[in-house]
Amino acid sequence: MKPIAPKPMPRRFHQARWDEPVIFELSQPGQRGVLLPPVEAGIEEEVGNPARALPDSVRRREPPALPEMSQVHVLRHYARLSQENLGVDLNIDVGQGTCTMKYSPKVNDQLARTPKLTELHPLQDESTVQGILEVMYRMEGMLKEISGMDRVTLQPGAGSAAIYANVCMIRAYHASRGQEKQRDEVITTIFSHPSNGAAAKVAGYRVITLYPDADGYPDLEALKAAVSDRTAALLITNPEDTGIFNPRIEEFVRVVHAAGGLCAYDQANANGLLGITRAREAGFDACHFNLHKTFSTPHGCGGPAAGACGVTEALAPFLPVPTVEFNGRTYSLDYDRPQSIGKTRPFYGVAPNILRAYAWIMSLGADGLREAAEVAVLNNNYLLKKVLEIRGVSAPYAKGKRRIEQVRYSWEQLTRETGIHSEEIETRAADFGMHYWTSHHPYVVPEPMTLEPTESYSKADLDEYAAMLKQISDEAYTNPQIIKTAPHNSTVHRTQHEPFDNPDEWAVTWRAYLRKTGRKKG
């Protein structure tokens, strides 16, 4: 036997292509996917069928046109769709910078699946939920230590919800001092997550966005020009999405405080800083973490996530209700907080993800968290070096400097020399079984790419990702057509995008598609 050739780099990938119909096309009249417990005769005899006795105004006439399928066919359809999807479990997920795509440990998923959590009703008597309340109380304690803040709420459902909760607490704080009307401006930076500006706008603020100075740092002079007695808060990420730590962050906080404003630290990018530096020491009044980023809970195709807001004593009275308290013997929920902003979501937060994040911290401890941070930063700087060896790409700002946990790169040169855009690289990356993301809009960095390799990836992983980028760069210079016609190895080929922005053609649902294309049902 001849030896079998070793694997090439990047690998020869092909995504699953099941050519799977839309689920309505799988419907078979009369089939059932699940049966329900019967209503006993004794009930039926006593009450009849009240649904059929509903007045015409509210009684459903036609059954909903849902698919009719046997159980195995539902399972198989969705199992096939799942195969046409990549997650952290399958791909080297460093291409979604800002989102901290790290490994979500399976043991934590197992722990979250116990009926001792999944089958708890949130309004049960406190004596029957002491275990989960203790988890929440201990989790708050650990996040207090990691951030340095005085209190933490786990109620927000995600990162943007946590930003919004912080803005609400800030608004309530100023209102408590009679300054709600006067302080009507919020300042953020263009390299902070878009939700900082967007959430502040919903909360009624005028949003001022600062752009970076020539070195890529948030512009201190611009901040000084922007603050005034109208400033309610500065909402800022650090390091920003460029991966550059702002060394003057204390000065930023001082400038805002001097004007009577508060400072909220968006810690979506905290992964490189665990145990290194904290919101408290930089003088922040509030911060938030994304438990689905920094603390490893799975991203679930876009949630459920979990957010946590940390605040100082000054903002603690405004925390959402309830807080979790401990009297030395029992845990309880405290609703008696008259200055609270109230509810940010139903009940107390995304409990299964709070548990997963708790288990993740418990499995690492203080040294493990710091190790995760340091290795994430090491991985990022290694990938930075590898990527900069590729033709056509650069890392704008902070020339020659190290980065924290991610880098916003630019393919400007490649675009100029080959006409290939970052979005096209994104599509081509799918041919190699890798996720790639450009960046948030607007593209302040031209032709952007944001890579965040976290601590979960090995040298070989990073080499493979870089090899994929190098191959695409080579193709751009020698065979751009292969990029322009990508994807080739995906589930489907290039989608026509025009219908998505044309009200006469867009179809958000199958029924709208059938109506607008004249295709018949069934």
Partner: protein, 465 residues
């Protein structure tokens, strides 16, 4: 700082010393401190974080977490009649199977070429919800039903250019808190009273209050206290007459038997999808939906992502992508519609699986069965001396209010008595709705047998004796 114990950690491949050294050498760094050069000394934490000692092995971790969670008593062990926004239903095994698959569980923001599966699954979720709701546009899930209501009302204000909304006084206090905080800057909320006898919205009060400032009339069907709003068509007609939109908070599990709100005049329908195949998770299983007709004036006001279908370059393939992306905060930051972010996509996929399993027959049967059990429980409890089932003549879906004022006991004491008999009673309403006296909101489910309902009635009889 004490010497660090840095064992090779299974979650951190490059924690292995040889790998780390190779990496450091490759980047020309002596140690990792070099990477942090921009962080001023004054900001450095000069000590170890004060955290519990780690449980490095799975065995230690499981023992610890089990030790905590085993102190919980779940509704699997104890008969429960709690509802009030979070509901116990049987979750089909296939729902858990699909949402546990790593391809879905650990994916995030992939484009339609590497994550075709999640785009199709969420498009199908939207499409099946659309059949349930008889509307053409449904969003990719937002956070929860509270957020869905709050955003629907903001949408209505933007569409009409008006600045007040009317909410029913029988809304839950927590949802009202969320909605109030969300609308506070520029939209005024007024509550419309409900009728003492029927629990339904007071139509006379509504009509009196409606004027040219009102952007929307919001009500829930079924209402928070369990009643089915039988005059929904009259409410929406009154709203329309004043040029206001009709926004309905609907329970999707009821829509096999209750009419889709669009058919009685709703312009925007919203709610929570926890009942569609998602466990209660101690209140962590929520996802929100918003639906409208396919009118660009409405579609362009959704903050959420809307996944749509389109042809690809190859005949016979379904391609998917974002419809009208340019309205979102991802595209426009604060100039977009509110904001969009990570919310509850996996629960949307799960709800799609649930609806496909249930089909039209399952949705009909569960709706009928829930209403039968609810009415049965109401009648059984109404026969207990001293107990009054409030709003008893109004049709109910799964929840109903029982007033214990006639027993001389507080609602809290009743629930305590039930707990002593190993039953989780309903939600104590005495703080939330003082006008209803010492009342409890009970909730039934298809998991309850006739014997379970009998056990509740028997326990109540003992407790009030």
């Amino acid at each position: 700082m004490p010497a660090r114990k840095t064992p090779v950690h299974p979650y951190i491949p490059n924690s292995a010393p040889p790998a780390k050294e190779t990496m450091l050498r490759a980047v020309g760094a002596r140690n990792v401190d070099e990477f942090y050069a921009d962080i001023p000394d004054s900001l450095r934490l000069k000590r170890r974080l004060n955290l519990p000692e780690p449980l490095l092995s799975e065995a230690e971790l499981i023992r610890h977490v089990d030790g905590l969670l085993n102190r919980n008593r779940s509704t699997r062990e104890t008969l429960s009649f709690l509802g009030a926004g979070c509901y116990q239903h049987q979750v089909p095994a296939v729902c858990d199977e699909i949402n546990s698959r790593g391809e879905f569980l650990t994916a995030y923001a992939g484009d339609p070429y590497e994550d075709h599966g999640r785009f199709q699954a969420l498009f199908e979720y939207e499409s099946m919800m659309a059949e349930l709701l008889n509307m053409d546009v449904v969003n990719v899930p937002n956070y929860d039903g509270f957020q869905a209501a709050a955003t629907s009302l903001r949408m209505a204000a933007r569409i009409t250019g008006r600045t007040s909304v009317l909410l029913p006084a029988n809304i839950g206090a927590d949802k009202l808190s969320k909605v109030g905080e969300y609308l506070k800057p520029d939209i005024k909320i007024e509550l419309i009273p409900f009728e003492a006898k029927s629990g339904l919205l007071d139509l006379t009060a509504l009509k009196t209050r409606l004027d040219q400032q009102i952007a929307a009339v919001y009500f829930e069907n079924p209402a928070y206290l369990g009643m089915i709003e039988t005059r929904a068509d009259q409410i929406s007609a009154a709203a329309r007459l004043a040029g206001a939109l009709c926004v309905v908070g609907a329970e999707p599990l009821s829509l096999g038997v209750i009419r889709p709100p669009v058919e009685y005049g709703a312009d925007i329908v919203c709610g929570d999808i926890q009942t569609l195949g998602v466990h209660m998770h101690y209140g962590g299983g929520h996802g929100g939906f918003i639906a409208s007709n396919d009118d660009p004036r409405f579609v362009m006001e959704f903050p959420s992502r809307l996944f749509g279908v389109a042809p690809t370059s190859v005949e016979g393939e379904y391609g998917f992508g974002d419809v009208a992306y340019e309205r979102t905060s991802f595209a426009l930051r604060e100039e977009g519609k509110e904001w969009v972010g990570t919310a509850a996509a996996l629960w949307g996929i799960t709800a799609g699986v649930f609806l496909a399993l249930m089909g039209p027959q399952g949705m009909l049967e569960i709706g009928e069965g829930l209403m039968q059990r609810c009415r049965f429980a109401m009648q059984k409890i109404a026969r207990i001396p001293g107990l009054k089932v409030t709003f008893a003549d109004t049709p109910h879906f799964t929840e109903f209010v029982v007033d214990f004022s006639g027993t001389g006991q507080t609602a809290a004491a009743i629930n305590k008595g039930l707990l002593e008999r190993d039953i989780f009673g309903g939600k104590d309403l005495s703080g939330e709705f003082p006008t209803l006296g010492q009342s409890i909101l009970f909730c039934v489910s298809e998991v309850h047998t006739q014997a379970d309902l009998g056990r509740l009635a028997a326990a109540l009889k003992e407790v009030v004796k």
